[in-house]
């Protein structure tokens, strides 16, 4: 759980005893204010000043979301090929595997949340900005197909810069593939909850992230299709600060609710129960 993670943080920063101690700081990308890093980490990476919900790794997210020891991972070893022979693509991924411990940008599997079984997927923005290529597309598609076959609900935590450029048109096609799998799951009566986390953009916004029966967002996270700089370049003017934040998308009608991290697990559990998933045999 999170305790291990905090130990690592503490060790790292209390290391050199001889050096003058300066508490490490966190600068919030939303309000630009500084707060102590330890406070930010204690709050599970929520800015104490403005409530911006920062990025979590897939394993940190699972740890605060699903019941202890309940997660069974699908396709843990699936690795990307190089469909358009993009220079240095495979090498880049080897390095990322070492630094992140992930094989690609999404982790999928089954778990229980306060006893309700669910198929869950969590994207991790540390791996090539959570971009969707063949592996992300295939794992998400398989997760939905498994849920359809077993009459299970799906929860997806999205975090992505969009399609993975290095896979060219093949990455674009993953949008159609995943959306098709979501549709078949929906036609079969399955519940799909999306949780939009920082950042959810591009081809992921324009596919499975926008197709949930219920769409939740964390406070102050970035949600959009086109990147901010691209839009500013097109319209030749500065965009307002709150543009494409969760609250903006909520106001425009594309997000059902904004839920704080500390209430996410209980909210998801209630929604699963409201749809009867706590009583379904799997």
């Amino acid at each position: 759980m999170f305790e291990d993670f905090f130990d690592v943080v503490k060790k790292r920063f209390n290391g050199g005893a001889d050096e003058e101690y300066k508490p490490p700081m966190f600068k919030c990308p939303r309000c630009q204010d500084l707060s102590s890093l330890s406070r930010y980490e204690e709050l599970h990476r929520v800015c104490p000043k403005c409530n911006y919900h920062g990025r979590l790794s897939a394993s940190e997210r699972l740890a605060i979301t699903v019941d202890r020891d309940s997660f069974r991972e699908f396709d843990a070893d699936m690795k990307s090929g190089n469909p358009i022979d993009f220079p240095e693509y495979l090498e880049k991924q080897e390095q990322l595997r070492e630094t992140t411990g992930l094989n690609d940008a999404v982790v999928t599997g089954t778990a229980t949340i306060k006893g309700s079984p669910v198929v869950i997927g969590v994207m991790d923005s540390r791996y090539m900005m959570g971009s969707m290529g063949s592996v992300v597309g295939e794992k998400i598609t398989k997760a939905f197909e498994y849920a359809t076959e077993n009459n299970m609900a799906v929860i997806m935590f999205t975090a992505s810069g969009g399609a993975r450029m290095q896979e060219g048109i093949v990455s674009l096609m993953q949008m159609a593939k995943t959306s098709g799998a979501v549709k078949l799951h929906s036609d079969n009566g399955g519940l799909y909850i999306t949780v939009l986390t920082d950042p959810t953009t591009g081809g992921v916004t324009a596919s499975f992230a926008s197709l949930g029966d219920i769409i939740i967002a964390e406070p102050k996270v970035l949600i959009g299709f086109a990147g901010r700089r691209v839009i500013e370049g097109t319209i030749k003017q500065r965009l307002p600060e709150d543009f494409q934040l969760a609250e903006f998308m909520h106001e425009k009608g594309f997000v059902d609710m904004i839920v704080e991290r500390k209430k996410m697990r209980s909210t998801l559990s209630h929604l699963l129960k409201l749809h009867g998933y706590d009583k379904k045999e799997v």
Binding site: D77, I169, I235
Partner: protein, 268 residues
Amino acid sequence: MDEKKTAWERLQLVHTKGRPTVRDYIPLIFTDFYELHGDRHYGDDMAILGGIGRLDGRPVTIIGQVKGRDLDENKACNFAMPHPEGYRKALRLAKQAEKFHRPVICFIDTPGAFCGIAAEERGIGEAIAKNLAEFMTLRTPIISIVLGEGGSGGALALGVCDDLAILENAQYSVLSPRGFASILWKDASREQEASEIMHITAEDMVSLGVAEEVIEEPRGGAHNDLDKISENIKEYLSQKIPEKCEKDIDVLLKERYTKFRKIGEFLD
């Protein structure tokens, strides 16, 4: 067919003034065409046209992205960059086609969906996503043809189909080569280099399983002989549409899902 051109040479052809647009093709391929307007929610996006007409006497629904033939036309159709209401109009007409058992023919020709404030506010991501999901299970045949530029999710939103054909010099890509160079190398001027490594040509689409067929262009490009290129497109449609209409719809839907399902390269 010309000898093989590079991706960059073809890209120049696609941007040649006078390259035929969907509005040039419609009167030469279809009869009794009636344009239908609006998404019934917000407005009518001129970057996507839709309507009904006949192909060889058979009623069909036609949807396509509209490029202008001059600056005024381009301003009116926003340089073929649709807003959400364009995609919602497309979906409305696709659903209408399903109701009346008409096949759908989509013409793709866009640099991408429009990147602007209004598009984001009205949910461009949701509009594209919805089309991907709904077209996948639309209970009527869908054929898509890439005419010139097939850029990004904005193109794919008309590209979930049973068979995809692409004109010989057209391109289909995850992002324009310019955008690609700008994102990956922070240098938009390396657009030519990007175009050559992105695998965006018609033949690339066939080898990657994205397109089923390449439609041959007249010597020098489609703009050199509008009648000929229209004839080639019509010949393709006249063969494909009856073939797809004869199929059992559940078989067709399974094949459509599988077509996209199997695209991707990974090691288990």
